[in-house]
Amino acid sequence: MVRVELFFSPVCPYCHSARKLVSEVAGRYPHVEFVEVDTYTEEGIERGMSMRVSAVPTVAVDDEIKLVGWPFEEKDLVRLIESRL
């Protein structure tokens, strides 16, 4: 199982688009676990800090930060996931 985490904040103007894209792409793969981490919660911020996330949106795959900021391309995300399958 590949774990894709998206760190987002409800106040970030770009995160909505990132959430939409990542959930759509992740949803195509049965062996991908997609987790959204809300960094406006204590648990979310602790998880982010433990991974040295410092901006939203950030995409981590299997505990490694892979994409930071918006926009990022669908093909980049697909490549990241498929390289782990």
């Binding site: 904040s9 103007p13 909505h16 982010g48 040295r52 410092s54 901006a55």
Partner: protein, 305 residues
């Protein structure tokens, strides 16, 4: 006319756009708001809005915008998350192209807002997302108990200094050589805050570090270098009116949309409101301009019969 012909298409879902939608939808104009980013616009980033009338104790930007969205929806406005990529003028009808299709409208209100200016110094791009941030309210929580700098001399920069000092260990406030653009009321409070240090008369020259930001160098200050963990670049904004090229909407040298007293652009039936006109950078004035543009749009639609 096709079913997708609207009386008013509003491009932008910030305070100006949503206010325009509240007005046009409430007057039974078929209204569509198109917003490519988060509905609510840059106002969502406002940590606390203390000067919006009707909220004596203040309100967060997020809560204020949620109320505006709810109000626009209550009157029947449609709000879609689509990025507008073009606008064409066909006389009585305008065509609005998005990444997903197109819409026709009898009137258009452009309320595309602004985007933030970059600092353009070495290290800024390299450390983007690794200590360099453009949004204090979004990324501030990651810098709890750390040392950060806020670069910028506008009201938002002042807000972010105050907000970040609540959780960071230390905040350097660096307004740049020009200093703060006004004597903002928050500055008196911040000057009393032992966690905030003002670096005045100086510009950031370089942002440096290894994996993450570790320092900035300065030009014009007593010290050449500050050790820190994060740099929040909160500079003035530039208008985002790039979609208007095809329609021939006039802008000034700075890219600000030129409007007349009725908020109408040089194209009949195309109005503009809010920060993209560079009139001011306040939520309340953006909302006011949105209302004014909507009233003019209603008049225009009525004139078409």
């Amino acid at each position: 006319m096709s079913e997708d012909t609207y009386d008013a298409v509003i491009v932008g879902g910030g305070p100006a756009g949503l206010t325009a939608a509240i007005y046009t939808a409430r007057h039974n104009l078929k209204t569509l708001v198109l917003e490519g980013r988060k509905i609510g616009g840059n106002a969502l980033e406002a940590h606390w809005v203390d000067n919006y009338p009707g909220f004596p104790d203040g309100i967060s930007g997020r809560d204020l915008m949620e109320k505006m969205i709810k109000q626009a929806l209550r009157f029947g406005a449609e709000i879609r998350n689509e990025t507008v990529v073009g606008l064409s003028d066909f006389g009585d009808l305008k065509m609005i192209n998005t990444r997903m299709g197109f819409y026709q409208a009898k009137s258009v209100v452009v309320a595309t807002g602004v985007s933030r200016k970059m600092l353009s110094v070495p290290g800024e791009n390299e450390y983007k997302g690794r200590g360099v941030s453009y949004c204090g309210v979004c990324d501030g929580p990651f810098f709890r108990d750390k040392t950060v700098a806020v670069v910028g001399g506008g009201h938002e920069a002042v807000h972010d200094v105050e907000m970040l000092s609540e959780t960071a260990a230390k905040v350097y406030a660096i307004p740049g050589r020009k200093g703060y653009s006004e004597n903002f009321p928050e500055l008196n409070r911040i000057r009393e805050d032992p966690k905030v240090e003002f670096i005045t008369g100086a510009d950031v020259k370089v942002i440096g570090g290894s994996d993450f930001v570790e320092y900035v160098t300065l030009d014009g200050a007593d010290r050449d270098r500050l050790s820190l963990d994060g740099v929040f670049i909160i500079l003035e904004h530039v208008p985002t009116a790039g979609i208007l090229g095809e329609a021939g909407v006039s802008t000034d040298a700075g890219g600000c949309i030129i409007v007349d007293g009725d908020m109408e652009t040089n194209i009949k039936g195309v109005f503009a409101a809010g920060d993209c006109t560079c009139e001011s950078m306040q939520i309340v004035t953006a909302a006011g301009m949105g209302a004014k543009a909507a009233l003019s749009a209603m008049k225009h639609v009525k004139s078409l019969g």
